[in-house]
């Protein structure tokens, strides 16, 4: 639903280290964009600035036509999969995925429908009632994916979303990410991969 325009963004962390140095990226509405770079080059930092979790040292972050430098994360309407997933350990898989919908006050029937659909796509339906602590790494990652794709967000940010699942699921998730990017209303996917990490050259390669 919205373009993201990154203008001369600089990020210096507390210790003065310039993690992101004067980056400008223009992502069109509906565009599918992949950031690739060596470990520690600032991919996560950039995504966290877009989503509003990290202060921007200088430059402008535009979403749609609005400058969002000082907008709280919850008011930016972006979905993100964290690099380390950040699941809610006290909630079941179902409730983890339903969490953003509940916060948005969606009716129960809609929540149920969306969560079931996402669980099916991500091959999580048989784990609905389980807690994240009992899942494998790849399953956790898929829960994190589910939590993002159920949303009706303006943009979807995935921090290394395909580093864990096996080949079959990777294909499925790739399709899902593209579908999310192409579906009307979800005009925009910003994805972030890491070919250097050695996790998954195949998947990123086919995307690049």
């Amino acid at each position: 639903m919205a373009a993201i325009d990154i203008k001369n963004i600089v990020k210096k962390y507390g210790d003065g280290f310039p993690a992101v140095n004067d980056v400008s990226i223009d992502v069109q509405d509906g565009e599918f964009m992949i950031l690739v770079g060596p470990s520690g080059c600032g991919k996560s930092t950039l995504l966290r600035m877009i989503v509003g979790l990290e202060d921007i040292t200088s430059g402008d972050m535009m979403i749609g036509d609005k400058r969002v430098n000082d907008t709280a994360p919850r008011d930016r309407n972006l979905a993100m999969v964290f690099q380390n997933y950040a699941l809610y350990p006290h909630l079941s898989v179902y409730e983890n995925i339903a969490f953003p919908l509940r916060l948005a006050g969606a009716p129960e029937s809609e929540i149920d429908e969306k969560v079931r659909k996402a669980s099916k796509t991500l091959d999580l339906d048989e784990h609905s009632e389980r807690k994240p602590g009992n899942l494998s790494g790849g399953q956790r990652q898929r829960v994190a994916m589910g939590r993002a794709i159920v949303r009706d967000a303006d943009a979807f940010l995935f921090d290394e979303p395909l580093s864990n699942p096996d080949a079959k699921l990777r294909g499925q998730m790739r399709t899902e990410i593209s579908a999310a990017a192409e579906a009307p209303g979800h005009h925009h996917g910003l994805r972030h991969a890491r070919p250097d990490g050695g996790h998954d050259p195949g998947a990123t390669g086919s995307r690049c």
């Binding site: 509003g52 997933y85 950040a86 809610y88 006290h90």
Partner: protein, 281 residues
């Protein structure tokens, strides 16, 4: 072969520990329970046996009719409860700050907390005795609650900050991205994860406060604020020539049983690592 042998030995050692430690810990408890069901005559007899000869519950009936004891029970519970609630209420934000923020003196607070909690209470008694009489706090509930907090508060801060450091705070950010206000992120995500820690800290401080003896024996003079440990030392019993073993044992059982039940009930909650599975790990 050698590996096997070693393993066998390890396992038998394991089992010895498995049996010996509980027996070592529980035998005195079993003895107290058994004592509490013995008659006065039996406890006065020279050669004791483990099981009561004639099983009686009269000790329980008697002690619960003893107004001094029930009064002490109320004092104990009330004083320990208030000290616990106050400690946890103050310690929670303090521990939160220690776990989340960088500030000057953080290390000092962290290293001083256990030191203060372990400070020998005897050294406080003399000055407190004089001060409390001047301030009118001698033999009152606040007169015990205030000094109790000198060890329950640092104890609570110490345990809570250890717990809070284990919480993956990134989930709070995930919640914000998911559309939560700060308050929603706090009470839907942080509180459920912090609750077991708060609960553990509360139980710990409650036990410490309830077991305290030196202060309560020194800073109280009547049953109006004397707690159970002190009150028990005043037990005379019906027979002035024999110590009231059975009654003491009964009193011990009465104050211990609720504790054991609470711990057993909530043990899983306390131990369960609720935060596992939040992050990649």
């Amino acid at each position: 072969m050698r590996a096997d042998g070693r393993q066998g030995k390890d396992r038998s050692r394991h089992w010895i520990g498995f049996i010996a430690i509980p027996v070592w810990c529980l035998l005195p408890v079993a003895w107290i329970v058994s004592l509490s069901f013995k008659s006065l005559e039996e406890t006065a007899a020279g050669s004791p046996q483990f099981l009561p000869k004639d099983f009686t519950t009269s000790n329980y009936g008697e002690i619960l009719k003893n107004d001094d004891f029930t009064r002490a029970l109320i004092n104990s519970f009330g004083i320990a409860m208030i000290a616990t609630v106050l400690s946890v209420v103050f310690a929670t934000p303090a521990a939160y700050a220690i776990a989340r923020l960088e500030f000057k003196g953080k290390r000092l607070v962290l290293s001083m907390a256990p030191a203060i909690a372990m400070f020998p209470v005897v050294s406080l008694v003399g000055p407190l005795f004089d001060m409390w009489r001047t301030f009118g706090l001698f033999n009152t509930w606040p007169g015990l609650i205030i000094p109790y907090m000198t060890f329950t508060l640092p104890l609570a801060i110490w345990t809570l900050s250890a717990f809070f450091r284990e919480i993956p705070w990134e989930m709070e950010q995930a919640a914000q991205v998911d559309g939560a206000t700060s308050w929603q992120a706090f009470h839907k995500v942080i509180v459920p994860l912090a609750a077991p820690g708060v609960f553990t800290a509360a139980i710990l401080t409650f036990f410490f406060a309830r077991n305290e003896f030196v202060l309560t024996i020194s800073l109280t003079s009547t049953t109006s604020s004397r707690t159970v440990p002190a009150q028990m030392s005043f037990f005379v019993g019906p027979d002035p020539f024999n110590p009231p073993y059975a009654q003491l044992a009964t009193a011990s059982v009465i104050v211990t049983i609720p504790v054991i039940i609470i711990v057993l009930l909530f043990q899983r909650k306390i131990v369960a690592g609720l935060t596992s599975g939040a992050v990649k790990g």
